[in-house]
């Protein structure tokens, strides 16, 4: 969910209306926006719409709200003037980063605020819509420093230029190793023999997409008058959409858009291209989905508030929209806009009068029974996390095992799924050593083990773990509880002597139930007690249920 920071004055200037805080909150609903913070002139707006990068800038929000409050209506119009510049795109980029789109923006008066907004929009699109520059990377350049036609090509790693923020030239290979952006984004082009490069007619490098711009033309300041926008990626549609969104924002700032001819060797494209797209569906679908009684006329009016244009012909409605909106792929996408334009809170909620029989899962009933039994024994229920550490599950337990493991853990405290409940219960006890004794706790929870025969390669098992600690607790105390549980669940229990790495020898046993479920019972051995820093005797049961 992108958060847009902007100046309230700037926003009001773009919309052409002043807002109180409450009014602002109301109109922001029109863009699925929520006011996250307001501090004098500073606004922080959360835009929940993850599929509409056109709304991720103050210009975009203002554009949409202008229609929402009736200052404008229908599809926003953007004029593209014919430019002279051509961009040659090298087919050798096929596997590396094949698609690009360019535009020129002329006559824009760049203020500090506008500069900040350009950078913010560029960042939001690259990070979120562009999946951290993988799908979309954007560069903005000082057009007056770009000479003649440009070429986007696969370059030798030994080629050199001065990257933004540096004073000496570096080879492309060096940039990947040394430049902070090279380190951050280098993985996107790593492993290729050649790297993408954008240069002008004089072979002056503009940028090494998707890594870094040059320090010459890549520097945009408040003195810059004309801009050159470059977008690269893998999918022409995504790249085009990103370019259009940048152009719209800059045109909203009174810049004029000039086209660039894209020369893909086999075909030529004009970039950017603002067109209208349409979707046709049965008019009745609107009221069927919303549960409303809107007339055709009302629907058309609501569409205009959301920068859409409808035409009704018989039972069908055709809705037109700007081709920067890639989120409309089904009639319901349009119908949601109608509902937003109407205002969700004006709908009268209707009672759902359908009778069905409720039930819990079979397992739930059994789990409930076991938990109630434990409570009957005077045990306190605890809750621990499913994600835990190797330290707790393995090292402290004196074990060597394989676990279901997370590939991208945030911390080593949560890197594997628990295989036993016991280590988590011992951890719990170790944190309550100064509380009054006896301490009797239990947990009913799930554990996960590797099991390649299962659909997900893992087996999830429900288990019960009982832990009792006081100076006189022993094997017999927990064995009594175990037998009572078995009796209540109408199962037979068999005990076998066994050696484990965590239970005291001669004071513990392995459990087998008549239905094949397994477990263990006994006193914790000295080594494990020490590992967990426990001083008072602990006896435990852990069984599958």
């Amino acid at each position: 969910m992108p958060t847009i920071e902007c100046s309230k004055k700037d926003f009001e200037l773009l919309v052409g209306k002043k807002f109180s805080k409450e009014e602002l909150e109301d109109v922001l609903l029109g863009v699925k926006g929520e006011l996250d913070g307001i501090n004098e002139d500073e606004l922080k707006i959360d835009i929940k719409e993850t599929n509409r990068p056109d709304l991720w800038s103050v210009e975009g929000i203002a554009r949409e709200i202008k229609a929402f409050i009736g200052k404008e209506k229908g599809i926003p119009e953007y004029k593209v003037l014919k430019g002279k510049r051509k961009a040659k795109i090298d087919s050798n980029l096929k596997d590396i980063r094949p698609k690009a789109a360019y535009a020129e923006i002329r006559g824009i008066e760049i203020t500090e605020e506008i500069l900040l907004q350009i950078i913010q929009l560029q960042e939001k699109i690259c990070q979120s819509f562009g999946k951290k520059r993988e799908q979309v990377a954007i560069g903005v350049f000082d057009l007056d420093k770009v000479k003649g036609n440009v070429k986007y090509f696969a370059a030798e790693p030994s080629m050199e230029f001065i990257p933004l923020g540096f004073s000496e030239s570096m080879s492309l290979r060096e940039i990947l190793i040394k430049h902070p952006k090279g380190k951050e984004y280098g993985k996107l082009i790593e492993g290729f023999e050649k790297f993408p490069l954008l240069a002008d007619e004089n072979n002056e490098v503009l940028s090494m997409p998707p890594i870094i711009n040059s320090d010459t033309s890549g520097k945009v300041t408040e003195q810059t008058k004309n801009l050159f926008v470059d977008v690269t990626g893998f999918n022409q549609k995504l790249v085009d959409t990103a370019l259009k969104i940048m152009c719209m924002a800059l045109a909203d700032r009174k810049g004029k858009i000039y086209s660039v001819e894209l020369d893909y060797e086999k075909k030529k494209l004009i970039s950017p291209e603002f067109k209208k797209e349409k979707i046709v569906f049965n008019l009745s679908e609107v009221n069927e989905l919303l549960g409303t009684n809107f007339s055709g006329k009302e629907i058309l009016k609501l569409l205009e508030k959301k920068r859409l244009k409808g035409k009704i012909k018989g039972k069908k409605i055709t809705v037109e929209f700007g081709n920067y909106r890639k989120d409309i792929i089904h009639p319901w996408d349009v119908i949601e806009d109608i509902a937003i334009a109407f205002d969700y809170n004006k709908f009268e909620p209707e009672k759902l009068d359908v009778f069905t029989l409720g039930s819990v899962e079979e397992k739930s009933t059994q789990l409930k029974e076991v938990r109630e039994l434990c409570i009957g024994f005077g045990l306190q229920e605890i809750a621990s996390n499913h994600l835990t550490s190797k330290e707790t599950q393995m090292k402290k337990m004196n074990l060597k095992e394989e676990f279901v493991e997370i590939a991208n853990p945030v911390s080593s405290n949560w890197e594997i799924f628990r295989k036993k409940l016991l280590p988590e219960s011992l951890d719990f006890l170790s944190k309550n050593k100064n509380k009054s004794y006896p301490q009797k706790i239990f947990e009913v929870g799930r554990t996960i083990e590797l099991n390649s025969e299962k659909e997900t390669g893992v087996e999830e098992k429900w288990k019960l773990c009982v832990s009792i600690t006081h100076s006189k607790t022993n094997f017999n105390e927990v064995k009594s509880i175990l037998e009572a549980i078995a009796r209540e669940l109408k199962m037979k229990v068999k005990l076998k002597e066994a050696k484990t790495s965590f239970l005291a020898e001669g004071k513990s046993a392995l459990i087998e139930f008549s239905d094949g479920k397994k477990g263990f019972v006994g006193e914790i051995n000295q080594k494990v007690m020490q590992e967990f820093g426990l001083e008072t005797n602990v006896s435990v049961i852990e069984i599958e249920i």
Binding site: K131, G291, T292, W332, Y344, P349, E350, L352, S359, E405
Partner: protein, 612 residues
């Protein structure tokens, strides 16, 4: 009851006296014997025991006042027999005569022997910790500190403290609080240990030449007169009055500098470890007293410690308890002691549900009563269910709508039957049977097979949609969800979502709003609701549910929407599915009055037991 009774010995006391006489190699006087007894007893009781033994012709007193054993063959056995009879006789006398038998049960009250009525009452009301304490005190025969008592009885320090207090009140023990005064260094004292005593530093500054006092820097004006006076008295310096007072060091003064003074020695000692004043010798005490006059040199701290010794009454009480115990065994009857109903008792805790799970159970119950059926909710799912079935395109921003975990081991799972996989593939590539354009890309099975901890409860709704549903139907699950996040007061990497959907003929957005309103009122106890446009990759339209909570104002309570037609229509579901998810954790937080989400899984046993 006359006083005599208090001193009547019990049978085992008499046996103890006799045994001591037997074991003794020489003839003892009465007093000598009394001192030799393995257990201390009152002299009067002892005297009575001796009289008894004389009467029984077991012993006699010689002319010198020594006690002599009368030993005849066969006599000892007779004595034993008599003793047994004696016990039996006594038992029946004490117990049956004096106590009532309640409702035919074998329960009876037993009174202490040799104690007056009020004392008997006290004894019968003694708690277990008091009994234990008495026993230990009687055995040890000396004053014990509370720590020693706790160690010897095995009862907790707190209980030991209580026992001391109670026994003192009942005059069975004598409690004493000893104030211990500890001495440690003050700021000046610390300085002196580090940099030397001012008077010494003052001497160090001097030499054989006369030096005026104004040149002396190491000592403050306040201290200089004392220092001069002292040094002069000890002949460490010479003074001369010219324009102003001048001073020089003597030979004795130089010697003095060589040695450590008593003050220095004791300051160093205290510097190492604070000392208890009473453990110091007289000399040290004297030095310390003078140091105490000097500002900031010493700090005194008082600590109180409790001690207890047994009183005579306590001994008798203990004896009578012992007897009660042996008669318990003999009669095999259950003893009830009388209780002082005002006495504090041990705190116990019931077995209880974990508070958060209890809350979740209640909500589950409510949903079942509203006609919802529980769905399965595995922890590990294929991306297929978490994303693909829900029409979240691979390699597209909608897929990374939230951050998710991936698995390192295992990495891939199995997909369901081919027909379903084909259906989902088509939905993504071209919209499939739905009136949709789809996402226009090549859908990959390999990506869909990837495993992950489920990131949202909707993954389980997706699974249910694939498995098949009843129409009309209402489904729910309490899902454990996982997202990589920095854990803080409002974020957990593991959290719970109550998630589900309803499906039926002619379901609409208005009906979804109706359902949400019902949830807000029934589950959150909300007064009013507000609906905000929202975004979920798998619903259209999408709604955020805000509820007006009586205490907290407007809070976000859940998210909902109508499952996209690309999902339902492709799976052959013609009716609309209204999907919803409620943020359980936040709701639980305000129900349990917590400010930190981490406390839902609190590891604080006291909070679980008592809510504090």
């Amino acid at each position: 009851m006359d006083k005599k009774h208090i001193h009547s010995p019990r049978l085992d006391t008499i046996a103890m006296v006799e045994n001591t006489i037997k074991k003794s190699k020489e003839k003892l006087s009465k007093t000598e014997l009394w001192k030799k007894l393995p257990k201390q007893m009152m002299y009067q009781t002892f005297s009575t025991a001796i009289d008894y033994l004389v009467e029984l012709k077991k012993i006699r007193l010689t002319a010198e006042g020594k006690i002599e054993l009368i030993l005849e063959k066969g006599k000892a056995k007779v004595w034993e027999k008599e003793t047994q009879e004696g016990i039996q006789e006594k038992k029946s006398k004490i117990e049956i005569k004096k106590n009532e038998i309640k409702e035919g049960k074998k329960e009876m009250k037993i009174n202490a022997v040799g104690l007056d009525d009020s004392a008997k009452k006290i004894v019968s009301e003694l708690s277990e910790i008091e009994r234990k304490t008495l026993k230990v005190l009687a055995e040890e025969k000396k004053e014990l500190s509370v720590q020693e008592l706790s160690e010897k009885t095995g009862i907790e320090l707190d209980s030991a403290r209580r026992a001391i207090q109670w026994l003192n009140e009942k005059e069975l023990g004598k409690a004493r609080i000893e104030k211990q005064v500890f001495v440690s260094l003050g700021i000046e004292g610390l300085k002196a240990v580090k940099d030397g005593l001012p008077e010494k530093n003052f001497l160090k500054e001097l030499n054989e030449n006369w030096k005026s006092l104004s040149e002396i820097k190491s000592i403050s004006k306040q201290e200089i007169n004392i220092a001069l006076g002292n040094a002069k008295k000890k002949d460490l310096i010479e003074l001369k009055k010219e324009k102003e007072l001048t001073v020089k060091i003597t030979e004795k003064g130089k010697e003095f500098l060589e040695k450590k003074t008593e003050e220095e020695l004791i300051l160093e000692k205290i510097g190492e470890k604070e000392l208890e004043e009473k453990n110091l010798n007289e000399k040290e005490k004297q030095v310390l007293k003078f140091l105490g006059f000097r500002k900031g040199f010493l700090k005194h701290k008082e600590k109180g410690n409790e001690f207890i010794s047994i009183t005579e009454k306590g001994f008798s009480a203990n004896e009578s308890i012992k007897e009660t115990r042996s008669s318990e065994n003999l009669l095999n009857a259950k003893i009830i002691r009388n209780y002082n109903i005002q006495d504090p008792v041990e705190e116990v805790y019931p077995g209880k549900k974990q508070p958060y799970y209890k809350f979740v159970d209640e909500i589950k119950q409510k949903l079942v009563s509203l006609g919802f059926k529980e769905m399965e909710n595995p922890l590990i799912v294929q991306e297929f269910y978490n994303f693909d079935v829900l029409f979240q395109p691979q390699n597209h921003p909608a897929r990374t709508w939230t951050d998710t975990y991936k698995l390192k081991k295992p990495t891939h799972g199995k997909l369901p039957e081919k027909k379903i996989v084909e259906t989902i593939k088509n939905a993504h590539e071209n919209g499939g049977k739905a009136e949709s354009m789809g996402w226009n890309y090549e859908w990959s099975e390999k990506i869909a097979e990837q495993l992950m901890p489920s990131a949202h409860g909707t993954a389980h709704s997706a699974r249910q949609l694939v498995k098949g549903i009843e129409v009309p139907g209402k489904y729910f699950t309490l899902a454990r969800c996982f997202r990589p996040d920095v854990v803080d007061a409002t974020h957990l990497i593991e959290f719970n979502q109550m998630e589900g959907f309803v499906v039926g003929k002619d379901f609409t957005l208005r009906k979804l709003l109706g359902l949400l309103k019902e949830f807000a009122v029934e589950i959150a106890g909300a007064e009013k609701v507000k609906f905000l446009p929202d975004y979920y990759p798998f619903t259209e339209p999408s709604v955020q549910l805000n509820a007006l909570h009586p205490e907290l104002g407007w809070v976000e309570f859940g998210g909902a929407g109508i499952f996209r037609a690309e999902i339902t229509e492709n799976l052959g579901i013609k009716e609309k599915c209204l999907a919803w998810g409620l943020g359980m954790d936040r709701l639980a937080m305000f129900k349990l009055k917590l400010n930190d989400i981490r406390e839902l899984f609190s590891q604080n046993l006291d909070w679980l037991r008592k809510g504090i």
